[in-house]
């Protein structure tokens, strides 16, 4: 298990090592990458802001749920914050499993849930302005 919210560049190899074990046949890794265009605008950079302590908890809880649902072996989740340029990796989700089907299912499920629940926000700086991107309002108790 590896969970991290950090201003440092994300290390994909580290996430893979963290989830690799002798009983692991399949590793699926998702990378969220800053795109050069969004909503028809040319993106210059993104600023990510997090409620880091809570984001870490949400990562842990969702990883545990994914492990139970999909029989995963291990999970690593890394999110970068601060200023990111086009092409930078903002999110790494790595899951390992004895077999590949579960790894793909779990990876997609986790990324979907993280996007809905991680207390992380981004401001897009584009040619001609900047704007907070408002995605999803988390469902709560």
């Amino acid at each position: 298990m590896l969970f991290r919210v950090t201003p440092q560049p994300l290390n994909v190899e580290e996430s893979i090592k963290a989830v690799s074990h002798p009983s692991t046949g399949a590793v699926v890794v998702f990378l969220g990458v800053v795109r050069g265009h969004n909503l028809g605008r040319r993106v210059i950079q993104l600023h990510y802001e997090a409620y880091s302590e809570m984001a870490q908890k949400v990562m842990e809880e969702l990883a545990q749920e994914a492990q139970e649902r999909f029989g995963l072996k291990d999970v690593a989740i890394l999110h970068r914050i601060g200023t990111l340029q086009v092409g930078d990796i903002s999110l790494v989700v790595a899951v390992s499993s004895p077999h590949r089907k579960e790894a793909f299912r779990a990876g997609e499920w986790l990324v979907d849930c993280l996007k809905e629940r991680l207390p992380i926000w981004k401001k897009e700086v584009f040619e001609g302005g900047e704007e907070w991107i408002e995605g999803t309002l988390p469902l709560t108790g």
Binding site: Y51, L137, G141
Partner: protein
């Protein structure tokens, strides 16, 4: 009897601060805490962004009671994940 309220993203910018203390007396629902913060910052009062709440780093419903020493986060729509 105070709670600490955390503001993020656009809310933080509108308020001009990331953190504020709110008097919660014997306990207040989370949404009532936010209402008090909005009264303190007019720019927040006129802000139409829907919000969710977390108390002590866990999502809670708007009626969740906030007591002394709690950390309340006002959560505008999230956009993590890239």
């Amino acid at each position: 009897m105070k709670a600490r309220v955390l503001l993020f993203a656009r809310l933080r910018e509108l308020a001009g601060t990331a953190q504020v203390e709110v008097e919660v007396g014997e306990g207040l629902p989370a949404q009532e805490v936010y209402r008090r913060v909005q009264e303190m910052f007019p720019a927040l009062a006129s802000c139409e962004i829907p919000v969710a709440f977390a108390v002590n780093a866990r999502y809670v419903g708007p009626q969740h009671p906030v007591g002394e020493g709690d950390e309340v986060a006002i959560i505008p729509p999230v956009a993590g994940g890239g």
